[in-house]
Amino acid sequence: MIPVEQPALVETFDEDPAPAVSASPARQLWRTVRHSPSASIGAGLLLVLILVAILAPVIAPFGPNTQAGAPFTPPSARHLLGLDDGGYDVLSLLMYGLRVSLLVGFAATLISSLVGTVVGIVAGYFGGFVDGLFMRVTDYFLVIPLLPFMIVVADVWGANLLHIIVVIGALSWTMTAVVIRAQARTIRERTFVRRAQAMGAGHTRIIARHLLPQVMPLVVANTVLNISYAIFTETALAFLGLGDPTQISLGTMIEHAFLRADISEGAWWAVIPPGALVAIIVIACSLLGRAIEDSLNPRLRTAHLSARVFRVRPTRPRNPGRTG
């Protein structure tokens, strides 16, 4: 049999630059966000919020320490969200508070994601004794209750932003560790990892080159969800009076609203906006995080074979000569 000449093989490759499934994780993430309405909304919201927080000193109509008028002034054209119990412009406070909340959220998440990912990968990859050891440590941290711990820290070392960040980070890395460990264990069994081992690759190479890239998308999804958790936790701590007294965060705004008679004065504009903003952040993070998670699991996306209503196109007039 005469072998087919080269051109035939070239024909089977398509020359257009974008392959059906992009291998680069960043590309994949971008695609997910673009195509999923919930992810786009979530990402969009987060982007806007981050921008507002960064630009707060520039775009806030009033400074955080500027008394702009009488306390409990209702919203007007000049003060879109009115003035709070101290006569400060609520809208400006919201922007500054957003800064602090986001700062704490991102910083705490950085710690928890980093520690959690490392622990998860090491435990999942090595298994055996190492896995047991790390998981017992994880269990230990898992049961430390947040509130009493924070109270103790506040009491002994004082409550400032740094301490809050460390506490939240130190108690939430466990969630990440457990999730990443499960994923690492699965990836470890995949053929290409076994093959790398058979080739003689060392642990470092396998983890860095093969394991980590496969785990990254999950890390990203998990991080986004952690951010919402961290911000929410900070808000809760601040609300309970364990926040940094020198900083305004969304949580302290709510705390003040409760403690300083805003409610009995009927000043809803000082009570609702900070809480609503926290809710928006959490929703945005959840939308984005879940969409990323879903895109990682192909089984969730593809509908299984079930007797669905399929479309029947009416039989077109037969092409001349097309025989049956």
């Binding site: 392959p19 994780p25 093959r195 081992q197 003689g200």
Partner: protein
């Protein structure tokens, strides 16, 4: 001196105990995955290890590569006893023993380009002084596996290639370090029929041209017959017949081999239904192997003494040297 020599290899698994069993302190069942296996692979030769699932062929391969630790027996590679080498010592040896897996869709890292996948073993074993030199080697080996022009493939991702092409990439990665022994675990069973011969010819060519020894694991007797030099048939952890490929398939002496030959694909159907020996039942549980000859429960020719004596591999009288079978009654047919 044989390239690879396995003697009386044993590998048992512990079957995990259920909760009740653990509480009652019942001993875990031992699964006799590899139960006294011996064979050799020479340079420039392809030995096919044939058997159904659960017969222990994949476990044997993994044990040879020391990805699993053998329970007993010896593994000699290039006349060196590597049975008890530490993983560290084995690292450098791994260059000489490479493996190609069954699933071309899973054996390549989907995030690495073809060139990177092939370059990896070079990097691991320190071959090639510079990135450019390594790329040149990668190009060379791509040409050897008939992925030409190499430039067309080297920067592709695995998902852009067909199954046959991916398998060639996997073979290229194994070849890049110029191993002396290649273990191919069902290299074509997941590929379309039309591309199987291409891959198998490639492998056989490597035996001839490079003097590489290939241990091919397969359940497909016909492929083994077409391409391998020798065949070893395994059943429940034991080699039951071994010898020259053509010889064993023309004159199978062990009833299991005979049954496998009967159900293997043949183009001529005439007279197939008559006397077709389709074995009933399925292979016995590897945790409870029958006494005496382990095949006797399914053997159409078993006699009383088959339950008393465990047959060993022995030269078949009247057949060419090297054709051995583990059957007490083989002299009769």
């Amino acid at each position: 001196m044989a390239l690879l020599e396995i003697t009386e290899l044993m590998k048992y698994h512990q079957r995990p105990r259920g909760l009740v069993q653990t509480l009652l302190r019942q001993p875990a069942e031992a699964v006799h995955a590899v139960d006294d296996v011996s064979f050799t692979v020479d340079k420039g030769e392809m030995l096919a290890l044939v058997g159904e699932s659960g017969c222990g062929k994949t476990t044997t391969a993994q044990t040879i590569l020391r990805l699993l630790d053998p329970g007993a027996g010896t593994i000699r590679f290039r006349d060196e006893d590597i049975t008890t080498f530490s993983q560290r010592r084995l690292r450098s040896l791994r260059r000489q023993m490479q493996i190609v897996y069954q699933d071309p869709y899973e054996s390549l890292d989907p995030r690495l380009r073809v060139g990177q996948s092939i370059e990896e073993p070079l990097q691991i074993h320190g071959i090639g002084q510079s990135a450019r030199e390594r790329r040149a080697l990668v190009t060379q080996v791509l040409a050897r596996v008939d992925l030409t022009p190499p430039g067309l493939y080297i920067d592709r991702y695995p998902h852009e290639l067909s199954g046959g092409q991916r398998q060639r990439v996997a073979i290229a990665a194994a070849l890049a370090v110029q191993p002396q022994l290649l273990i191919a675990d069902e290299p074509v069973s997941m590929l379309d029929v039309s591309v199987r011969a291409g891959i198998m010819n490639l492998l056989r060519g490597l035996c001839r041209s490079d003097g590489m020894g290939i241990l091919m694991i397969t359940h497909d007797l016909a492929i083994a017959g077409h391409f391998a030099d020798r065949i070893a048939v395994m059943y429940l952890g034991r080699v039951v017949e071994i010898g020259d490929a053509r010889e064993v398939l023309r004159n199978p002496k062990h009833p299991y081999t005979q049954a496998l030959c009967d159900v293997a694909p043949r183009h001529r159907r005439t007279g197939r239904s008559a006397g077709l020996r389709i074995l009933g039942g399925e292979p016995a549980d590897a945790a409870s192997i029958p006494s005496g000859c382990r095949f006797r429960t399914r053997c159409p020719k078993a006699e009383d003494r088959c339950s008393a004596e465990d047959p060993q591999l022995r030269q078949m009288p009247g057949r060419p040297a090297g054709h051995q079978a583990a059957c007490l009654l083989a002299d009769q047919w």
